[in-house]
Symmetry: C2
Amino acid sequence: MVRRNQTRVTIIDVAREANVSPKTVSRVMRGDGYVSEQTRQKIQSVIKRLGYRPNRAAQSLVSDRSGVIGVVIPDINNPFFPEVVRAIEDTALERDYNVLLFSTEARLDRERAAYQFLEDNRADGIISYFPFLPDSELATILSRQKATILVDHVPFEAATGIIRVDFYDAAVQAVNALVAAGRRNLCYFSPTESYYTFTERIRGIEDATALANISILPEHFWACGGSIEDRFQVARAKLLENPDIDGMICFNDVTAIAAMEACDDLHIPIPEQVAIIGFDDIQLSGLSRISLTTLRVPKAEIGVKAVQMLFDHMDGVDSPREIIMKTELIQRRSSPPPQVGGQAMSPPKPVRRDIRSI
Amino acid sequence: MVRRNQTRVTIIDVAREANVSPKTVSRVMRGDGYVSEQTRQKIQSVIKRLGYRPNRAAQSLVSDRSGVIGVVIPDINNPFFPEVVRAIEDTALERDYNVLLFSTEARLDRERAAYQFLEDNRADGIISYFPFLPDSELATILSRQKATILVDHVPFEAATGIIRVDFYDAAVQAVNALVAAGRRNLCYFSPTESYYTFTERIRGIEDATALANISILPEHFWACGGSIEDRFQVARAKLLENPDIDGMICFNDVTAIAAMEACDDLHIPIPEQVAIIGFDDIQLSGLSRISLTTLRVPKAEIGVKAVQMLFDHMDGVDSPREIIMKTELIQRRSSPPPQVGGQAMSPPKPVRRDIRSI
DNA sequence: CTGTTAGCGCTTTCAT
DNA sequence: ATGAAAGCGCTAACAG
C-alpha cells in the first residue's frame, strides 16, 4: 500500500481543479457570500471528488475560533457527570459545536492541563464543574479564556456565568425527610474537601437540625478521601463505632451507595435501623436493589442551561449571570416514608431508566 | 474591566521583548537546538512575564501534528467505557498526548461527526471501540486518518491495529458455568445489532450448549433495542412468557442488571430460579446488592495496549497488528457455584472498589 | 459575482 | 549559537 497520505487536499487544489480562486471555494464551503449556482455546483463536485476537507488548524488560526466547547468534570466514573455531559453535547451539537471532555480525577495537575489545552486550542467556551483549583489561580486561568461557565461555584468575577444547585435547601429537605421519618441521630458523610458545594450542604444540615431541635454531634460529621473503597471502609468503621446512628445523609449518591454497602456488610438493615439519603439521583439509585432516597439534581437542565449561557455570551445576548436550580426529594426505600400519625405516605417516584447501553 | 483579551501574546512579542529572533524563542519552548544558557534564561523570563503560550492551531498547521488522540466509544453512560478511557488517558498523558473523547450514543451520524472532527483536526491517532459504521464506509474514513486502533473488531485492512477480547471463549465459559451449576434451560439476551463482537458471543453459546447436549431454542435468543428501560421491559415480558428459563446469559453487565431488575420485579428469585451471567465486570457488578457473576474484561489492559499500539506506530516500531485478550470468570451470587458432587466451590472473587467519586 | 493580496502564529530550511 | 525568509492552509479586506 502506498504511503501518499501525508499531503492532503487543500483549498488550493480544489480551486485549481475548478478553475476558480481559493476564496470562492471558501465561500462555497462556508455558505456565505454570493456564488453563482453554476460555479457552486462545479466546486461542490470537485470538493466531493477530491474529498476535500478544510484544515481546522488553519481555519482556527485565522479566525481565532475553534468551534469547540470544553467541559471539565472531576470524575468521569461518577455516573452523575456523564448524565450532565450528554445534555451538554446534545445542546452544543445543535449549533455545530464539538464538545471536548476532560475528567480531572480531582487532580489539580490534570485540571490545569485541561484548561491549558483549551486555552492553547482557543476553545470558544468552557463549562467547568466545580473546579478544585484555588480561586486566585482559577481567576488567572479564566481571564485567559474566552468564556467560562462555572457549575456549583460561588459567584465569581472572572466567570462568564454561574449555575448553582441549591444544596443548602437540598440538605434541609434531606434532614426534614429523616426527621419526618422519626430519625433523631443523624450523621453526615462527605469528602474531606471543604469546597463551596460541599459546605452548603453542611450549612443546610446544621440549620435544619437546629430547627428540629436535634443536632448532629461534631464527631458525626464523617469525612474521607475520594475512592469508593475508602468511603466503604470509613462508613463501615464509623457505623461500628456509632451504633446509635439511625439516619445517614451522604454527600452524593455514589457515596450513599458505598454507605449502603457498608450497612449490608455489617448486616445493618436499611432503612429499619439506618436510613440513608443521597444527592443527585443517578440512574443507578432507581434500581430496585438500590432504591436510594435522594435529592434529584436536574442534570439535563444544568447541561442545557450551561450551553445556552455560553451561546448567549457569544451572541452578545444579555442573560442572567447566575442561575440557581432546586432539587426534588425522590422518596425510595432506603429511608422510611414520613410518619404522618402512623399514616402511609405518597408512593415512591417512578424509576427513570432512559440510559442507553451498548 | 477592559476587553483587551482578543490579541494574545505571540512568539513575536516574546522575541521582540527579549531581543532575539522568533526562532530562538521557538527553540527554547520546544527544548531543541542549541541556545546559550544566558539567552535561554532571558527568554524564559520574558515568556513567564508575558504569559506566552504557543498557539496550538499554528503549531499544528505547520507540523501537521496535533498532539491529540481521539477516542470514540458508543456509550458514555455504560460505566464500562469510562473504565477503559481512564487507562487510555493515563497512558496517553505520559507522553503528553491529550485525549479527545467522543460518545456516539450508537448513532451513526454522531460517529461520522466524531471521525470528521478528528480528521479535520489532524488527530495523531484514534482508538475506536467497535465502530458501528459499515465496513466499507469505515475503510474510507480510516484511510484518511493517520492511525486507528479498532477494539473488538474483526481484522481490518484499513486499521493500524486491532485489539479483540475473545468473547467466543467468554461465552463458552458462561455456558459452562451455568451448566456446571445445573442449569439446562438457558436464554441469551442481547441487543438487536448483529455486530462482530455480538455474534462471537452467540457462536460461543451455540458451540458450548451443543457440547453440553443442551441447546438454546431460537426463541430463547432475546434481542432488543438500546435503552435500559427497553431491556428491562423485554426481559420482563420474555421471562413471563418463558417460565422454564433457569439460566440467563446477558450480553453485558448493564443488560444483566436490567434483567435482574426484571426478575426482582416479577419476584423471581436469583439465582434459585433464574441464574444470571453478564460480561465486562463493571464496578457496579461487585456491589453486594448486585453481586453479578460475570466474565471480567481486562479494561485497563485494553486501554494501555491500545495507546501503546498507537505509539509504536508513530515511532515506526514494529508491533503485532492484532492482540487478543481473554476474560476471566468472576463467580458471584447471581449464579450458583458449580455443583461438584454437591461440593461447595471456590469463594467469590473480591469486589474491586477503586473508583473515585466526587 | 469573483479574484488578489496579505497575514493569522508558528516552524523549517538555509545562512551566518 | 542565532537569524532571515518562506510557507503551512485558510479567510478578511478590498478590488474589479
